[in-house]
Amino acid sequence: MKPIKMALLLSSSIALAGQGALAQGDYSKFGIKEDLPGTCSYANIDKKDYSGKTLNIITHAIPVMGEPTALHAKQFSELTGAKVNVVHVPFGDLFQRIMIPFQTGQNAYDVMFYGSLWIGDLNPFLEPVPEFYRNSTGMKDVTPNYIGVASWGDQMVQYPVDGDRHYLKYRTDVFDNPELQAKYKEATGKDLKVPATWEEYNEVAAFFTDWDWDGDGEKNYGSAEVVKRDDLMFSAFISRVAPFAKHPDVKGGFFFDLETMEPLVNTPGWVRGLELFVEAQKTFPPGGNNFGLGDEIFSFGGGQTLMSYSWDDAYIQAMQTDSRIRDKVAAAPLPGSYEVWNRKTGKWDKFDEPNRAPYITWGWTSAVSKNSEVKDVAFDFLCFFSNEANTLHDLQIGRFGVNPYRKSHFTLDLWQGKLGWSEKSAQTYIDTLSGMDLSKNRVFDLRVPGVNQFMSALAVGVSEALAGQKTPQEALDGVAEQWRAIVDRIGKERVREAYAKVVALEDNLQ
């Protein structure tokens, strides 16, 4: 019996029957080079028979995360005989699409792909990952950062499928260019080097703004950042604030003081970060202060700007084979600061080496619903989704948005060997990413109930400061005021209990 390819009933619903038609061990027709051994390898999943069962999946829009979901759903369906329905939703509406059925007790989706920062809201509705999968070969390879991101206290409720973080991306054809180095030295009296602090970042960006430094006839600019208010801007802002406000020796909270649950968002470290953010606007391309993530990717990835920082997308876009600036980019840790606000002493502490505080930004994760009637199928799907062969395949396709999150991903062989990146582009990428795993001064997202409320209040305040409607201090005072109100509404103890789990990660207690 050969697989019957049905005229698909829905854009992305996949219903395929057919098992046993596959030659033992040859799964290359699925677009992978070869099946790799592992708990949920093609061969192992092939043995399962889920015909008659239906799996409903909600995921992000195509292509980022949405395309690999649809692809592996189709494969899973062919291998096991299960019927798999997939719906794709833009990021801005993903939360409500998941939350409305949960809160009204409707069993709508078995598997969800979403932003890991929502764990504080969603955890009551998620099925913990069973031991079998926690001991799977794939899971054993996941780096501690992403095990932490997937856990709620000591329970793992999210299934890691992606690794995310913010880091600095820059153009090597500028930073390594002797002519431009000389020009920079002449104008500023300083050596041109990759910025180690946010002050330097702004300085370098300002110099390289509004003139054509790559000789393509179009003007170039210094910095592209995600600034559009409701389009993930809060993440960019946290990246900019972290080194000023996350003191390596002060424990007990970055967003709040865990003891009193007082917001720290208007303390001097945060204000300093916002001041520099406001200043940096001069170095944005035209329209840059309304850039969403997509614009940032086009701007840096398309060669318009010198530097950028956010998720991997812009870097991967720049490294596409048909890109104009392939191999002309490199990665570095986010800039830091020589001065860090110490909220315990109420003073700025000076550092000899810039303080760095890697922001382990939320990224894509997946989970199984507690209400699901096919949890075994659901977990097998996620395990299959992230099996060795599939992960290797997905990492190599930029638009999939699957980024390194396992120890085996941080090898030069993969990036330089398999993908043909230049050594510098590949080496700086691996070093930057794996370096973040070693840091003892990390910042995680505010993974508490109502995280969207906190972040949208933050984004509005920052946006008002950027637009010049308020000074940075006024704007952040306003945010702190709103945060207090939100904490009061949710209940102080409830927020504290959740926030304690985040602080435990940050303070390396886990």
């Binding site: 801005g92 509406d93 939360f95 409500q96 939350m99 949960f102 809160q103 009204t104 809201d121 559009k228 208010r229 409701d230 389009d231 391309p285 035209p286 329209g287 840059g288 202060n289 309304n290 614009d295 086009f298 701007s299 318009q304 109930p449 109502g450 969207n452 409320q453 949208s456 509005v460 946006s463 008002e464 950027l466 637009a467 010049g468 409607q469 509404r489 949710i490 409830r494």
Partner: protein, 288 residues
């Protein structure tokens, strides 16, 4: 025999009430609860949500912004729509072509067209600035300064909904009686006097209806703002419905957003009634 009248009214009324009664009552009930992302379900917290609405300056600012936006966009649509309708009313070349063309924007999906417009207004990659530069006018910060972003949203609204006015007014013009025009011609009235004394008064009832309906629809403006500016820069383009959307579905403050919506509903009903009365007094001939 006049029992028949219920045969006409009741089916529609009953169906509408049947569909809408539960959502409406439910919304009222929810507005007195603290239903939130961390607290699903219906408790009772009295009028606390409404007290919060009154202190919520962001909501009242958004309402003010909304009134400026909807009134100015509807007026522009009315003036342009009327002018276009007059232009293609009588026999002219390519009349059918113009008439069909002028209807098209209304047929497009707002959420999709907003994405297209956003690319048009893209300050370095879009054609708007490219063309302005080509004719030597310099660039405009379309979406990144408050005033310009407001105007960009206005332009898109006018593009999308002028056809609605155009259609209503053209259909009205086509059905005007001939006699008053003959009378005016005999009086020797020029085109401007004819318009002021004949056309405009005859079109008054349809003007009122069209403006009210457009105001209702324009007040729900949401996709354009969401896609083009997401309310920014700062809060420069945040309108009430977008704000309610943020509170309701982004923040998931269900109870509070219900209170916001009901407040909004009452304000809209009151102000629309007043606007309709004022328009009627201004435009309709006094009776008796």
């Amino acid at each position: 025999m006049y029992r028949d009248k219920y045969f006409f009214l009741l089916p529609g009324l009953v169906v509408l009430i049947a569909i809408i009664i539960f959502p409406l009552l439910f919304t009222i009930r929810v507005s007195f609860s603290s239903w939130d992302v961390f607290q699903p379900g219906l408790d009772y917290i009295g009028g606390r949500n409404f007290a919060r609405v009154f202190e919520d300056t962001r909501f009242w600012e958004s309402l003010l912004r909304l009134s400026v936006l909807s009134v100015s966009s509807v007026l522009l649509q009315y003036v342009i729509g009327f002018a276009l309708a007059l232009a293609v009313w009588r026999e002219i070349r390519f009349r059918r072509f113009f008439r069909v063309l002028f209807l098209v924007p209304m047929m497009t999906t707002p959420v999709v067209m907003s994405v297209i417009w956003r690319t048009i207004f893209h300050e370095s990659l879009g054609p708007a600035n490219d063309i302005l530069q080509a004719i030597g006018l310099g660039t405009v910060p379309w979406l990144s300064t408050g005033t310009a972003a407001f105007i960009s949203v206005l332009i898109v609204e006018v593009w999308q909904w002028t056809p609605f006015m155009f259609l209503l007014l053209l259909a009205g013009l086509v059905s005007l009686p001939r006699e008053p025009y003959l009378a005016a011609a005999i009086d020797g009235a020029g085109p401007i006097r004819t318009f002021l004394q004949v056309t405009f008064p005859l079109m008054a009832p349809i003007t009122i209806g069209a403006i009210i309906i457009r105001l209702i629809e324009a007040s729900k403006i949401m996709e354009t703002v969401y896609v083009m500016t997401s309310g920014g820069p700062g809060t420069a383009t945040e309108t009430s419905s977008y704000y309610i959307y943020i509170r309701g579905l982004r923040d998931f403050q269900i109870g509070y957003s219900a209170a916001l919506s009901l407040t909004y509903l009452v304000i809209m009903i009151v102000s629309l009634t007043i606007i309709a009365k004022v328009l009627a007094r201004m435009l309709l001939p006094r009776e008796g």
